[in-house]
Structure formats: C-alpha cells, structure tokens
Point group: D4
C-alpha cells in the first residue's frame, strides 16, 4: 500500500516489509516536496528521518514540523524518537577531523533507529597509538562503522583488531589521486582484513542503517 | 604471538583477537607455502580454511592433509568442522547460473564458520516472479548474501523486501560495459535500497565471513 | 538543401529525410543564435522544439515567438503542435522524485512529436510493489521509456515484465560511486533482460525521439 | 511458473510475459547445463536459441538436439523456426569485415524471432560512398541495426539518413584508445543524431531482440 | 638564450629553433605576468600571440599594448601581423554551432602564423549532405583542421574524402557519456580513416600551429 | 566505385579520392579474406600494403603473391613499390629498444608510400645527450615521427628542438601505471610543446601515413 | 601521548616518533578548529606549519598568532623557525609559471623544516636549453623536488642528469587529456629514468617533507 | 658518450652523470639484445644489473656471462659486485607472502648498488601486532622500502612510526576492485602520513634505486 502524490509514491508498507519506515533522501528534492512526503510519513508512523538537508531547506522544514531536530554539520533532519533501545552498541570511528560530517550522519541515523552509539574521532593510522589506546575498548562494540578519507586505511586496521562486523565508509576528503573518494572506496573493497563490508562514498547514513539492522537481528534472535 | 616462517608470519592470536583463526588466501601462494602455513594452523586450531585453490594445488594439499575437503567449483579447501552451530541462518541468493561459483564459496565459508546456510539460485530480476515466489521465505533469514553479475540489480530488490542486513557480492560474470565486475560493484554501492553493504568482486568468502560475524553477535548479545 | 547562417546551417531536408524537422539542442548556444535558427525552422515547418533551455534564454525566446510554450523543470521550449496523433502509447516510468526533470523532457518530446503519452513516477525497485501494482497496465504501452538514477535497476525489472521495447535513460541523480550517471549507464547496458536499449545520461529527449519513431513505424507498417 | 533445476530456474512464463521464450546466454555455462535448460525449453516451446556457444559446446549440443543449427562465426545455436513472419524488415549494417561476427549474431537472432532480415556489410565511414550507394535502399527498412567497431561513427551517419529507429552496436574490434569497445560505446551514446539507442559491446543479439520487438509492435498496432 | 624574469624564463631562441617565437598560454597566469612576458616578446619579435585570455585579462592587456587585437569568442589576444603569407590554405571545419570557439581559435592562430584560412561551420554528420555539398571544395585545402564535439565523427568522414592531412580537434561540447571531451578524443584516435592525427580537447591552437608548420614545409621544400 | 565481395567492399576510388589505394588492416581478418581483398587491389593498383600480419598469415600470403615482402618485427606485408619518391624526408625517432616494432612499422609504411626515411633509435630522455647529439641533424627532416612508450616524454623534447611538424606515437611498452599505453597517449596530448599531434597507441602506420601526406602536400604546393 | 579535543586528537609524540611535530592540513577544517589545534602544538613545540590555508582563514589565524607568517600564493601559514639548519640543499625546479604555487609550497615547507632551499623556475622541456644551462649547477643539490603540470616530462629529464634522488610532483595545471593532473601523475610513475619517486598531485608539501627527511638522514649518518 | 648498436645506444656516461652505470630493463628485449648491451656494460664498468629476466632468457645469459647470478623469484640477473658498502641500511618490509617477488627485487637491487639490506616479510595491517613487534627496530633503518598489494595500507602505518623516508611500492597482488595494482598505487599517493613517496606498481627496482641514492647522499654529505 502506498499513497500517490504524483511526483512521489509514499511507501506505507516499508516498515512492515523492511523494519523501518521510508527515509527521505533530501538531495534533489525541493523543501516543498520533502514537506509533503514527510507529513504523510509523520502522520502514519509518528516520525521521519531526512538526510542531506541544506540549511535553507531545513529552515522551511523546521517551520512545518513543530517538534523537529536539525544538525547542520551532518545535514540530518528528523522528527520523533526511537520507540525502543536495542541492546548492544554501534561504535563510530573516524580517521580525521574533516571526516566528522559523515561520522555524525552515521551517529544520528543509528540513534534515530534505536541504537546506543559511541564516537571515537581522529584516530587515523598516521598516529596508530591513538587507535591502539582504544584497543580493549573496541571490543565493547556490537558493530563498528569506520569512516575514513584519504587512502582509507583505518577500516583494515580496525577489522584486524575486533571480533565484530565492520562497515567501512570512504569519504570525499582528499585531493588529486584520491579521486573524490573513489580511491579509498576501492581500497576498502580490496582490503586484506576479513569481516568488513563497504558502503558508498560519504554514506554515513547507509552504514548506520545496516548497523542498526544488525543490532535488530541480535535483539531478535534468541 | 605469531610464528615466523620467513616468507610468512602465522598469526596465532587472530582467533583470540577477531574470533576466528587466520584463513589462507590461496592465490599467489605455492602449494608448498600453503601446506606449511596450514600445518601450523591445523596444529594450533585443529582446522583451516583456504580459498581460491586451483585443482592442481588441491591435489597436493589433499595428500598433505588426511581429513580434508575440496570443492572444485568454489575452489574452497578446508580441514576440520565448526565447533558450534549458531542460531539463525545465512541465506545465499544468486542471480544466474554463472554466478554459482561465487555463491558456493559463500555457502561453504559460512558453513565452515558455524552457520546454518541455505541457497536460492537463479532468481535474477529479468524474471522477477522467481524471486517473488520466495518473498515470505526470505524473512526467515538472519542475514542475506546476494550474489549477482551483469548489472547487479538483485541486491537492491531483495533489500527492499526484507528486514535483515544484506551483503551484496558483484561477480565478474558479464562482458563489455560490465567492466569485469566494476559496473555491478559500483551499481550496488549506489543502490537506492537501505540496509545493504558491498564486498569486492567475486568475494563470496568476504561476504560470508561478515555474515558469520553478524550471526555471532546475534548469538552473544542477550 | 540547407540555409547557411554562417554560424549554423539550417537543415531544411531533415523532415524529408528523417521524418521530423531539425530539433535544436539549446545548451552552448546563445538565445540569439537559437532565435535565428528557430525562426527559420518555424517559417519552414510551422513548429520547432528546443531542448535544454535555461529560464534566462526562455524569457528571450518567449518574446520572439508569440505562440510558444516553456516548461522550466524539463527546460523544453516549443512552438507549434503535432499534426497527427499516432495510434499507440509511449509510457514513461521514473524511479524517483529526483528523476522527474528527465522524465518530463521525455514526455513533452514524445507529445510534441505526435504521441499519446502517460507517466508513472516514483516506482523505483526499493519498493517493488509500487511497480507491480502497474503490472497489467504496463502491457497497454506500445513502447516504454524508463528513467532511473542511482544504480539504475528499474529498466531491467520492467523489461522482464513486458512484451514491448524498453528504452532506458540513466540519470545524473546520485553521488559517489554513481559517477554522475556513468554507473547506471553502464549497468543498463549490461542488464540481463532482453529487449532494452540505452541512451545517454539525462537524455530524456533522445529516448522519446526513438520511441516516437517506433510508433511511427507501427503506424506506417500495414 | 518456473521449473527449478537447482542450478537454474527455467522461466516458462517468459513467453506469456515478454512475448518470447527464455533465451540462453551460453557463456559461463557448461554444455551439460545448457543441454538441461534447452531440453526443458524445447519441450515447452518447441524451440530454443542459445548465444555465445563455442565450437566445443556446440558439438555436444548438436548431439543432444537432432534438428538443430549452429553458426560458428556468430556462435549462435538454435532449435526450431519462427511460427510467423512479421511484415517489415530488419536491416543490419556493419562497418568493417571484422565486425561480421556481431552482425551475423544480430541477423540470425532477428530471423529466429520471425523477422525478415537483410545485411549490408563493410560500409564504414572512411569510404562514405559505399554507404551512400544504399541511401535510397535504407528507407525500405523498418528498423536498422548498425554494427561498428573502431570509433563507431557509422550509426550517427545512418541515423541522419533514415526515418526509422536505429539500434547501434559497438564492437570490440580495435586497439589502444579503443579500450576494447568502450570508446565506440560511449561515442554512440553521445552521438549528435536523433533516433538512435545503444546496446552493449558486441551485443548483436540484444539489438536484434529489440528490433524484433519493434516489428512486433508494428504488426500488432492497427 | 633566454631572459629570466624570476617567475618565467623568456625563450628568445625559440623562433630560431622552432620557426616561431614563444606563444603564451594565458590560463593560470595573471594579467601582470602575461604583460611582462609579452612585452619582452614584442620587444624582440615585434609580435606576440596569447591564448585563453579571459575578457578581464584582455582589458588589462589592451591597455598595455597599443596596437593589439582581442577576440572574445576564441579568447585569442595578439599583437602584430605575420610577415609573409604561405602559399596554400588551412581549412577549418566544425561540426556544430557550439564548436565555434575552438574553430575560431584555430582560424586566428593559423592566420597570425601566416596562413590563408577558410572556415566551414556546422557540417556535422547528422546531416551529411551539408558536408557533401563541399566535397569538391575540400580538395582545395592544403591541410584541414576538423573540430567536433559530441561523438566526434566528422574527422573520420572528412579524412575519407580528401588527399590532405587532417588534424582532428575534439571539443568539450556534450554531456554524460561524452566525458567532457574524452569520448570524442579517444574516438578520433581510434578512427578507421588513414591520414589523420589528433590534438588535445579544445586545442584549436595546437591544431592550427601544426597546420602552419605543414604549410611552412610545403613552402620550403622545392 | 567499389567491388562487393560480400564480407568486404573493395574501395577502388580511394586512390582518386584520398591519394592512396586502400590499405588492409590485417588484424581480425583471416588469411583468406586478406588474400581476396589484396588480389583485387593488386589487380587494380599494382600494389598493396597490409598491416598487423602475423607470421602464420604471412606464410599464406607469401604463397599467394609472388613478388611480395614481409617484415616479421613490424608485421608489415607488402606487394609493389612506390611509383615516385617525394622530395623531403620522414625521420622516425624511437625512445627505447622495445619501441622498435612500432618504429619499423612507421618506416616501412612511409617508404612504401614513396618517402625517403631515416631512423634514429634509442634516444629516450633518460640519457638526453643521445638525442642532443642529433640536434642539428634533426633539422634535416621534413616531418618527424616520434615513437615512445613508458611516460612518452620524447616527443615534447623533440618538438621543442625543431621547425617541423612532429607526429607522436605512444607505445604499449611499459607496465602498471602505464596502462597499456594510455598514459603516454594522454601525456603526449597534453604536452607543453607546440607543433605536435598524436595517433593511437602503437599506430606507427597511421603516423607514417600522415607524414607521407605532408610530404605529398610539400611536393604539390608550389 | 595525545590530547583529545573531541573533534581532534593532538599527537604530541609525533616529533619523538617521526622527527617532526604534527603538521596541520588546513583544507576541510574551520579556522576555529585550526586555531585550537595550532595553539596546542605551538604550546608544546614552539612552532607549527599549516598547509592549504585560504586567505580568509589566514586572516583569522594571523590574529590568533602574534609572530606568524602567511604566503598567499602557496597558502602556507607558519609559526616559528627551524632550530637547526641541515648541511646540504633542497633544489626545487618547476616547469612553468603556472606551477609556481606548488613549487612555493615545497620551498616554504623545506625551509620551515630546516633545509637550505633553492628555486629554478620555468625550465619545462619545450625549451630544453633553459634546463641545460643549469646542468652543472643541478649537481650541487642534495635532493631535488621537480614540479610539473601538462605531460609532466621534466622529472624524467632531470633524473637522467643528476646523481641525487628526485621527488616528482605533478600539478593540476593543464586541461582536457591532462585529467586534472592524473596524466602527469601516471606518466611520472612510469618514467624511464631511475632514481625518482612521486607524490600526489599538487603535493609540494609532501615532496618537501620527504626531501627534508633525506637531508636529516644525511646529517645523522656518519 | 655512447656506443650505437643500431637497436640500442649504450650510455657510457651514465655512471659519471647519475652515479651508476646503465641498468637494463629486460622485458621486451630478446636474450640476444640483452647480451649485446650487457657485454658492452660489463666491458666498461665490470658489472651489470638486468631486471625482469624470464627463466628462459636467464639460461641464455648465464651461458654468456661466466660469473653471473640469477634469482628466479625476483627475475633479477646480475654480474659483478658493489665496489663499496655504504654506511646505513635499507629496510624492505612487505605486507603478504604474495608480495615477496617485488620485495626480493628491491632487496637484490639495493644490495647490488652497495647497500646493506634487511627484510621483514608478511607484516600486513590485518594483524598489526606483527608490525608493532618491530617498532623499535624500524628506527635502525636509514630508509625504508614498503611493499604492499591489496589496499596497500602498510606504508601509511609504517611512515607514521619512523623518522626516515619511506618509499612505497604497490603490487599487482589482488583482484577485482584492486584494478591490478592501481588501487593501492592511488591509495599510497593520497596517504595521510607525511614522509612517503611512491613508485610504479611492482617496481621494487625503482624504490631500491632511489633508496640507494639516498644512502649515497648520506655518505657523501658531511
């Protein structure tokens, strides 16, 4: 069952089918289009998450939705809170200061989906001791999202240190041979460590979404 | 702690650190090198898994290891069995008949790591009813590994039908614009469905490894 | 026979030769250049179609041509109406809300060329039921234009459901591994479904043009 | 409805759904696998088409199917004949002698699907008069398949000469900057002529398949 | 012998060595830097040519050089006139109206270097009769510069019609699969016609420069 | 006027139109096909040139043509001699020993077309004095063909030393970042020296063909 | 030991570990973030170097740090001076005027790190005599940093003239086939001269950093 | 001064100019060509190094040179020994067993050039403790060559641990997204650690050559 707005078909069955209501990808949609779709989703599910919302669009959205939240670094807009908190924890690591917006998108997404989250920032491999100081602590995570730009070496090292699934997120932070993120993307895919998978460049949202699904499985299996 | 064989350092701590003993990537190693490393691992852990083993190397390995197993389609060689069987199930879907070697590598890896597995083959999107006939059944999986060559559209459709994490594996099956798998790889990374991550081209092993880690989390969290 | 304007040679024989008068590609031409060419074409054929016209140029063009039409989303500018309406129907499907400008370009082009058109929007494969709800209805089309960004999986699925030729249009909607549309373009070219061909990224015009030629054949063959 | 052979699901509904029975892509399948699938299809539909069949596999297939046909240049294997012959004609043009295998694949596919076909070979643009000598004759086609390697310029020129839809097929004939066909593929996609679409490198089959669907529409619309 | 300005070494021997004084590539240099270098060259050789000069920089340059010339479409700035006029003629063909800036750069460069030039515009292959109407006339050229964007098919066709060397110039006019000119560039390099070579994307200057050297050889050999 | 052999149309007008009879590209054609086409061309023009002929095909061709010549390094096969010798000289430079096959293809082609030729081998830029020892001598050439693999720097340096047109030929000699010749190809296209154009990777034939056309112009203009 | 600022972990051990304090990459960090990190570093080490600082950020930084230095062409910001001056000299060559910003970044970095530096500008290979006039002088360098855009041929030629290690820096100066620096990058990597290594596009900083480490080794070994 | 063998010019001045005699790149040269060049070099310098020599060619070379050495894994052939041993040490690290051939090429090259060498194998980042166990020891190197395939993360980590210049060598060991070594190559170029430069894929020779030049500087500077 869906509702047809002409320019968009709002997919009301998605929660039933996939565990979560439809989430809106904000880029390439007007503030008006987002508002119309979001209203339908809030009406039905009591909450909504919109990613990649510019500050201009956010201003319009905040007027339309009374009890809403906007985070300008990660460009996340949301209405509503998670109904339940899963046991377990999503740990989000990032390699450098410039990777923060993507790491924040992951954090806020996982949180909105009902996960406990934790951030460890600026632990890139050029100063490996920063990461190693968290060595024991990493084992407390249920699933790890590892965000890195440049050559994207951090996820390989982390995956070799933990028992948990690692979801790697390359970022567009870099220049020249970095090819706007294509280089760390391909590097992460060909990494030597076992237990890691990869999402699109700057897709903190997607990594967190899968992390939440993993916690969900962990909470349902018994 | 590791043992130095000169050409290789056998990493005995890997099980302690990452939950599983070191697994040997067979390509680019001689049968003799594989045998030496595998002996050390079997001695220590009682089991070993080797991927990408050609039939020639497998013949040598079978002589060296009495109680071993070799599967020529997936090129998997293994010694030993999983100690425990996790609750939950890894479901491996593949799009076409030519994707079978990669799907089989995933199946055998997950099995060796202690997972219950199930295969659904030849459900590519050109005949969507084949996939839809499994629609309810897909929900019985804990995690899905979806293998597809050509344009690699299957994981998107599957991810939109289930509540579980999907790990997508592009294959090198195709020609021309398929770019030896690069096209489905990039396509899966930019897919519109939420809840999916991607591993390297033909990396059935890597997808299954992460799937097993997910089941492991699900069995440990309580 | 053509008329030489110095910067351009207006091809008056094109209708005779190819069935339709010359159509103007608006990008990279000044409003003045477009006006000069369009005047010649209107004089000769009583109508003209211009694609990729920015709002600024459109303002100038609207002044020059009394009975004209401009659609800002698709950037189509036109003068005149089709002389005849072909039997049959061009159906334009699009995967997401952000693909609308390209879908609209296709719709308006086919209409201007004398086709009956119909649009089905936002039926991307992440919520396959939206598409399946049109399953029977798809068979009423004579030819289908299928527009999709991201990984571009929609045309494969559609082609597997219909008896009619499908013309696939990748769009530049996406990011990262999407490579500004190259990824869905290559994906569509390597798709597993038979009966489909592909046009350039965002080329709704080109897809509709070929669709109209197909209807034309269908109306002439007897 | 489909039949599950384990490694393959034979899609019996495809004719009902898409107008033609399933066609087998021979590459990456063993002679045994092809035989098993083809037997099921012949049993159900009385005919089968297999593409990309090596001479070795063809020898095995010829033994399994009494009344079969194999063409070694195009690597087409088929059983059975078309039930009806569509009005109209598919014209297949090729640019150079080395493009013949792909052109032949197109010819035999269209023929098997019930089309009248005609071939014009070696009319590449370096000697434009060869093509121009067919100028009037080209207008007798209902749809044109244009096959070209090297820089792939032929389809643009042909499209500018006819009223009919042109389906362009780039080939892997060339070297260096030709990038195994990627260069003519991209060139054809960005061609300046209207009315043309493109299929994968060396995909004579795919072009002919769509051409046949176009004739089918032309024969059904009234 | 050269003069060192610190940021630049003005190469006074270039005329002696290569037949022409140094020519200044204007992009990435400030108006001030261009002025300083140009003054030295004018002082020594009585003339100078500067390519890729923006309108802003041109305004500054026109103030600095009394008897100068600026052409805004081609962004050519020059001082002085050729000393001698070579026998023979450089013919510059361009495929579409949007290729004019590059064609003009070629025309003005060749002229400044002492060649008689002639332009034939908008003769792209989609309307081949426009080109064919010049068929005899093309043979009056000594060397041809052929400028084309989109798929860049024009040089192949022209080369097949003439006895003279053809220098092909791909342009950045196009979108999507055109890859900002890379597609026609590669296409021209892999063209089937003999007698043609290629210069960089939009490099009308470079093509004309070589054309002038060819006329020079033709005027010196006896 | 052409003769249709079915698989090929022999273009008898090419000499009239382009100054030289058709030349046969040997790759992708069978010895039998080459023989049939070559016979027609020899019959008409008294001579023929075939490029890229393997030793196997050459053996067949030598039997078919009494007075023929085959050079195994360059894979050139020819019948007949040039009618006239142009004034002027084509100089072929190559950077390394491994570039010889391409340089030889250029030499033999230019010779067959009626040019005086001269070779200077192994003058790559890593030992610039080898090239500089020819500095004066380079000025005796009418046109230069410069062949280089690896990074392809030689043509830039040569072009900066001479008054004559330089045609650069990248070769497939190299590895890794050399990308089978794509790297020197692109490098030559973006070279800083004026007066140079580029042909396809390993296309010694094409460079020599254009060089001969340049000598031809130089001999005809007066 | 490091200090955690939340968004950044300042790595105080870096000098101890790698010989130099942490250097700040300015791009993608706010002026405020840079200030906070830089303050910590100045406090600890008495100096700091920040690269890629825009003029806007530099204005803020100059207010925060009394005794600081900013160079707008190279976008280098620094506080403090080197403690010691190494014996030996870093020579920085650049090919063209437009490569100056990158060459300056190299010069200022090496200087800040304690090296004597020297610059030779505009010695690109199109006028090889400019470089050759420094032939003897090049041998006075201990290590050479060679900066070049376009096809990037300069480092090959230089490496063939000296006994010293050469670090090549490709720049983003160029257009079309230059691919924003990828072409010279790949060219330098596949260069025929021995003794040269390569850093990222426009990475003058990285080349100078390694050059300084080389001088450091030279000063410590005895 | 050089000697011209026709196919090759033996560069006798190279030692004078660059510190070492010419080294022969064996790929693409026949055993006979290598022998002729090597004889000249041995005659002049008393020693020679040849890289990339297949076992077949090596057999011929061993016959020609009495006191020679061949190493089949690294494909290095050499005659003669270094005259002097530099103070300092080149340390060669490699990430995996399959990277050994490249690491061995580096080792043997550095040794032949007069360096003390040391190898540390199989210390890839997936088991970081193997590398960390050498942490103190790494500081004893004067320069480090770090060889890695897959994603190539090892050099970044090593560079962050040492005070010495690191030369990174990507290898062609990997599959799929590894792009035959292009991925680690680009990754190393965009690495976050300072003090590292990169050579071509599998170019162990080139890295060692530069390492030896660095030791040479260190031994000469005083």
């Amino acid at each position: 069952m869906y509702e047809d707005l002409g320019f968009s078909k709002v997919d009301y069955d998605r929660e039933e089918r996939t565990g979560y209501p439809e989430i809106i990808y904000g880029e390439g949609k007007t503030a008006e289009q987002i508002t119309l779709i979001a209203e339908k989703l809030v009406e039905r599910h009591g909450k909504v998450l919109v990613t990649r919302v510019s500050e201009e669009k956010a201003a319009d959205l905040k007027e339309a939705f009374a009890d809403s939240f906007y985070h300008s670094v990660s460009r996340i807009f949301s209405v509503g809170k998670p109904e339940k908190l899963y046991r377990g924890k999503v740990m989000v690591l990032s390699a450098g200061t410039s990777d923060l917006p993507v790491a924040e998108e992951a954090l806020l997404t996982a949180q909105w989906m009902g996960c406990e989250v934790e951030a460890i920032n600026d632990v890139g491999v050029a100063g490996i001791d920063r990461l190693l100081s968290y060595r024991e602590y990493l084992q407390t995570a249920s699933v790890l999202v590892v965000v890195a730009g440049m050559e994207g070496a951090l996820p390989s090292v982390v995956t070799g240190l933990v028992k948990r699934p690692v979801i790697a997120v390359p970022t567009s932070v870099g220049y020249g041979a970095h090819l706007e993120g294509l280089t760390p993307l391909l590097g992460m895919l060909t990494a030597c460590a076992s237990g890691m998978s990869v999402v699109n460049i700057d897709n903190g949202f997607g990594a967190a979404y899968q992390a939440a699904l993993i916690l969900k499985v962990a909470n349902e299996e018994k």
